[in-house]
């Protein structure tokens, strides 16, 4: 498998008032296409910052990030938004679904950025919901679903536009054990059966054990890389 992500000498500095906080120090990391990588580390170690940079939500202060052959650190805000829409699916700890939209409409959201017809959007959203086992909950709003179901809807939203990369920030952090296992199994299946490259930030060693590789960060530095 070829490399999907190549990170070289990556640094991130936040300016908070008069203070400069260096969150990531000269990170080098490669992630192969089709990999399932868990990012672990204590709070404040820079896991989420690294994930945000790889997902194109933030821009680095130094170094380079190449995803699928594209230097995303060189893209402007508009181009980066387009790149995210086409290449990355996001899964958040608190699901971040639109509370006023049905599960179906939530899943359709990324497809609004495409030229697909309304019927095609509906069809693809239905397939994505079927894939996460929630076809029968399509008309339900997030408030009418359990936490685990909401997270599965958010996974359906992440995969509906068929991105290569899934970026998951603590996807099981707000779930009970059973729901967490269902979500991890789903991510595993997407990685294994559908070839999605999954990057997952987690505090939970059990969640990390679902991944093929685990990377540990501490104080903004890559300290350990472990194969599962």
């Amino acid at each position: 498998m070829g490399k999907l992500i190549e990170i070289r000498d990556l640094s991130k500095v936040y300016v908070r008032g008069k203070q400069k906080v260096e969150v990531l120090h000269h990170i080098d990391l490669d992630v192969n296409e089709g990999d399932f990588l868990a990012l672990m580390g204590p709070s404040g170690s820079g896991k989420t910052t690294l994930l945000n940079l790889i997902g194109g939500l933030d821009v680095p202060s130094g170094g380079s990030i190449t995803v699928g052959g594209q230097r995303i650190d060189q893209l402007g805000a508009g181009a980066l938004a387009k790149w995210r829409a086409a290449n990355v699916g996001f899964v958040f700890q608190f699901y971040n679904l639109m509370p006023m939209l049905s599960a179906q409409r939530n899943v359709e959201l990324p497809l609004l950025l495409t030229r697909l017809s309304a019927a095609e959007r509906r069809k693809r959203a239905a397939i994505a919901l079927q894939l996460v086992g929630l076809a029968d909950r399509a008309a339900h709003k997030p408030g009418e679903l359990s936490g685990g179901q909401q997270q599965r809807v958010s996974i359906a939203r992440a995969i509906v536009s068929d991105p290569k990369l899934l970026v998951c920030d603590e996807p099981t952090g707000d779930l009970d054990r059973q729901s967490a296992e269902e979500v991890l199994a789903l991510l595993g299946a997407l990685n294994r059966d559908h070839g999605k490259t999954v990057l997952m930030v987690t505090h939970d060693p059990k969640a990390a054990s679902s991944a093929r590789h685990t990377v540990h960060l501490d104080k903004g530095t890559l300290v350990e890389q472990v194969a599962a």
Partner: protein, 388 residues
């Protein structure tokens, strides 16, 4: 259009707040529709094809100053003048001072100048033959249940008779019908009595008239005729000002009140309050949705798309409330005219009012949406997702 469901759902995310804001917008545009009808009604006063051929001559000092009746003969000599007539304000009220009646003491040829007022030949003759006779507009007659043959008392708010009584009696001899309801509705409210009877009965008039109305043969000669009329009284103690009927009506209205200014001031205050109210709603709505907007940007919506969606939401709110408010005004305006018993003859909410209303909806929508939309556009995804 594919974003419409998203914009609509965002708008009604907090139903109670949105509905209350909508009610305020509906009320504001209902008021706009009503007041604009009043303004249009005042602007249209005197505007008619027949009115273009008529000149009104009043005192240059004030419309309450009178002019000598002897001017009529001199005015009739001016080339281009077809007919000259005159009238006095009578200021009558029926039974109660609140029941004001548009009552005028008029010259015998008064109706010759107003071809848009129809009265039967027999009734016209009866009027000429009856000293205390009166012709009343059909709406007025209907309002008080009057019919031909009735003797009705009117109390003049200004003029007493020679015994000092302000109570006058008139015999209704005919009913006036305006042939053009759009511009002639006023005539359906009128009460016409003889100037001669009026002049001989009150000691306060002594051969004076309130104003002259001149019908010209050629509209293009109106300006020249007006100047010629005014030159008759130049440097006298009764200098005149002659204007077209429309200008005279506008000038008369302006002496009562500047309706345009009053309507503009009220609407300015209403819409300013509306901007604050709906602006606050939009600010709150966007602030509450910070993380949702961040998610939209995360999944690939550009900053401009987010800006456009918030602006569209704000405009949709205003258009929804505005259209409902103006539609309601379209229903209420004829009801107000009807309930006034014909005292108010308001035009329906027309294309001009709708056009101005829609422009106001769009402008206010953009104004109130701009600040929250800019905030949404500038939203930093990482900070917003982290709740900072």
């Amino acid at each position: 259009m594919k974003y419409l469901h998203l914009i609509w759902a965002s708008l009604f995310r907090r139903k109670t707040r949105t509905v209350l804001t909508l009610v305020s917008i509906i009320a504001a545009f209902l008021l706009f529709g009503l007041l604009d009808a009043v303004r249009t009604s005042f602007n249209q006063a005197g505007q008619s094809a027949n009115g273009a051929q008529r000149l009104q001559t009043g005192s240059k000092l004030s419309f309450i100053q009178t002019l000598p009746q002897s001017l009529q003969a001199q005015m009739a000599q001016i080339p281009g003048v077809k007919i000259v007539t005159y009238a006095n304000w009578f200021g009558g009220a029926y039974q109660d001072p609140h029941n004001q009646v548009f009552s005028f003491a008029v010259a015998p040829n008064y109706l010759d100048v107003y071809p848009e007022v129809a009265v039967s030949e027999a009734e016209r003759k009866a009027f000429e033959a009856t000293r205390t006779g009166a012709l009343v507009g059909e709406t007025l007659a209907k309002r008080f249940g009057w019919k031909v043959g009735d003797r009705v008392p009117l109390q003049s708010t200004i003029f007493p008779d020679r015994q000092g009584s302000k109570n006058w009696s008139f015999d209704i001899v005919g009913i006036l019908h305006s042939t053009d309801k759009k511009t002639g509705g006023f005539f359906d409210q009128m009460f016409l009595l003889h100037w001669k009877y009026f002049d001989e009965t009150t000691p306060y008039n002594a051969g004076q008239v309130g104003w002259y109305v001149t019908r010209v043969g050629d509209v293009n000669q109106a300006d020249r005729v007006a100047k010629a009329i005014d030159s008759l009284s130049a440097n006298s103690d009764h200098e005149t000002r002659t204007q077209t009927e429309q200008a005279a009506t506008a000038s008369w209205m302006k002496q009562l009140a500047d309706i345009g200014l009053i309507v503009g001031a009220i609407m300015g205050a209403v819409f300013f309050t509306l901007i604050l109210l709906s602006g606050n709603t939009m600010m709150q709505a966007v602030r509450e949705r910070t993380s949702e907007l961040a998610v939209l940007k995360t999944i690939g919506f550009s900053s401009r798309s987010v800006l456009a969606m918030v602006l569209a939401e704000s405009v949709l709110l205003l258009v929804l409330g505005g259209v409902l408010g103006l539609a309601l005004a379209s229903v209420v305006v004829p009801m107000v005219s009807g309930f006034s018993g014909g005292m108010l003859n308001l035009p329906t909410v027309g294309a001009d009012s709708w056009g101005l209303g829609v422009v106001l909806m769009l402008v206010i929508g953009l104004v109130v949406g701009l600040l929250p939309a800019m905030n949404a556009m500038r939203l930093n995804i990482v900070d917003a997702l982290a709740g900072r």
